[in-house]
Symmetry: C2
Subunit: 338 residues, 2 copies
DNA sequence: TTGTACGCGTTATCAT
DNA sequence: ATGATAACGCGTACAA
């Protein structure tokens, strides 16, 4: 069914190698035969079989992106950046969605090795730091994460600095009883630390009753956590969240409990997904350049590939504060002056 | 660098074929050598080279999904469905994002043929119906669309019926001067027709001044279109939109113009993306089962592959009405009784 | 039960 | 300037 070099050579009355030369326009060929072969190629609409080419060259011009959940709006934009740069460099990208399951991560890592991908981008991995470090040794890989695996190529989102900044911002507005809805995951005390440190530096002692950790990041889990928080600790005047999805959940919990935002309580998110600007009140949050992050991660992966996997590089990306309505600051409303 | 059958055979002191047999546990082998070979395989952590296997078999266990924009929240859920079913069947999926550019669609179609994918899913194509029909002949493909290409495997979202239903709903609520913000694309009068037909059946003549077509589907374009509409035809009491993104844009335009929704005007969307439930007021819209759609499309593609490309099948998926707050009906507010 | 030879479609080496 | 041949890693057909 598919047209091969053989077919073209036969029809053109030349050898396979001659056709091959035309395809890769290498070596000296008479212009006459070149043109002739080109005609036949078009007639038969021949396409080189990349599988055969890859088998020989050892390079598949294929990379893979492993993500936990494509429906989490954080990832499509990262993928967008990855894909754009990949196309520019002639790579195709396998999309691997793990549904938040670390076993599926390992499964895909295995499968992809067999598929001879040239490299792998691992985003938001649910593996432990030890596993990540191990994986980094076995595969050509670039990791986008908030953790700290060693001896690999990593781009880290500065979650600690981010939560430090946004918590400090709330303190500046006059808030004192600030809660945190975090993500219960091993080896990632990152954002929670930022929250804690900001409080400590202002002479406040973080109260464990004001911290709720959930094991799954979603609007629903944010809703549930906020609900419990608001019932068990009604004295709080602000909630910091692991990310925007949870913050939106918290926003809805407040709506359900008839608690006004920002008048009664301030809520902040993290990531600045487009949803953050669209909810009411719009969400004050830390902006993370996701498209750019995708580009950067692929560029890093290309360096890993070029270095034959022997590349150790740690980059950090700093988010920045985006002030909207959910803290009331932009309209002068807040516990200090409302 | 990578371990091959050869390497395993050598170290195990057997022939290549014996190792091959163990891998595919086919043929009769003595349990002793089987176990021995298995040990070596694990020691060397050998993985079969799928490229070589595919080259021989002519099947790559790889399919591709081509979409216009991964950041459009419609597509990630479709992909989610595709990916889940693909994994169950041992397929890997290439993600191809065309950035709304039909030329990139054709480019990818070309590249993927060379990559020897077993099949292609084409979502939201920007190609003309003629091109689509042509593409359907050349590739093993399943198309998810609102158009009507012929002689291929197609799943169609019933846009006409959808807009007919939602427009009828507005008419039931007492609206008479209903506008439409549509998508300017060749061969797709689909949703616009549904809107028109609903009006006609109720004895109303669609007014061209109440119809705005945009050439790019986004929140921004919906915003701009609604703005113009509200300035040029302030008499309208409701706006139907091509999809939720445009409806959200319209919602924001109203907010900016201090026009209350639903008190002053009703707005409806299409798709029921999760954003629809999160904006204020929440959006009345037509629900489209996107995850299921993804599953269905891959299942269809598997049939196309099984039929060696010679499959002509047309499926239609009907959306259903989801009533929320943007028409005021759920709270009894509307032009008829407000 | 196990091994040998060939072919998948391509590129590289070495002739001619 | 062009062509025969080997090799990439694997599975199939046939032999031993």
């Amino acid at each position: 069914m598919p047209v091969t070099l053989q077919d073209v050579a036969l029809k053109a009355g030349v050898s396979i190698k001659t056709v091959s030369r035309v395809i890769n326009n290498q070596g000296e060929i008479s212009e006459a035969t070149r043109q002739h072969v080109l005609v036949i190629i078009n007639e038969l609409s021949y396409r080189p079989n990349m599988l055969a080419r890859s088998l020989l060259s050892g390079k598949s011009s294929t990379i893979a992106v492993i993500i936990p959940q494509i429906t989490d709006p954080f990832f499509p934009e990262v993928i967008h950046g990855v894909e754009d740069v990949a196309r520019q460099h002639g790579y195709n990208v396998f999309l691997c969605n793990t549904n938040d399951d670390p076993r599926q991560e390992l499964y895909y890592l295995d499968v992809l090795a067999g598929k001879q991908v040239d490299g792998i981008i691992l985003c938001g991995s649910r593996l432990s730091v030890e596993q990540l470090t191990e994986v980094g040794k076995k595969h050509r890989i670039a990791i986008l994460t908030s953790r700290e695996p060693r001896a690999t190529a990593v781009i880290k989102i500065a979650g600690e600095a981010g939560l430090y900044e946004i918590t400090s911002y709330l303190l500046t507005l006059g808030h004192q009883r600030i809660a945190h809805i975090g993500w219960q995951i091993k080896d990632e005390p990152d954002r929670l630390s930022g929250y804690r440190n900001a409080l400590l530096e202002h002479g406040l002692v973080p109260d464990d009753r004001w911290i709720k950790l959930v094991d799954h990041v979603s609007i629903e889990s944010g809703y549930a956590a906020a609900q419990q928080l608001l019932e068990q600790a009604p004295e709080i005047t602000a909630i910091t969240c692991y990310n925007d999805l949870m913050a939106v959940g918290a926003l809805q919990a407040c709506k359900a409990l008839k608690i006004r935002v920002p008048e009664d309580i301030a809520i902040v998110g993290f990531d600045d997904i487009s949803l953050a600007a669209l909810v009411t009140p719009s969400l004050t949050t830390m902006h993370v350049p996701r498209y750019r992050l995708g580009q950067m991660t692929l560029e890093l992966l290309l360096r890993v590939i070029a270095a034959d996997g022997a590349l150790e590089e740690h980059l950090s990306v700093e988010p920045h504060l985006v002030i909207r309505d959910s803290c009331g600051a932009s309209t002068g409303i807040g516990p200090g002056n409302g």
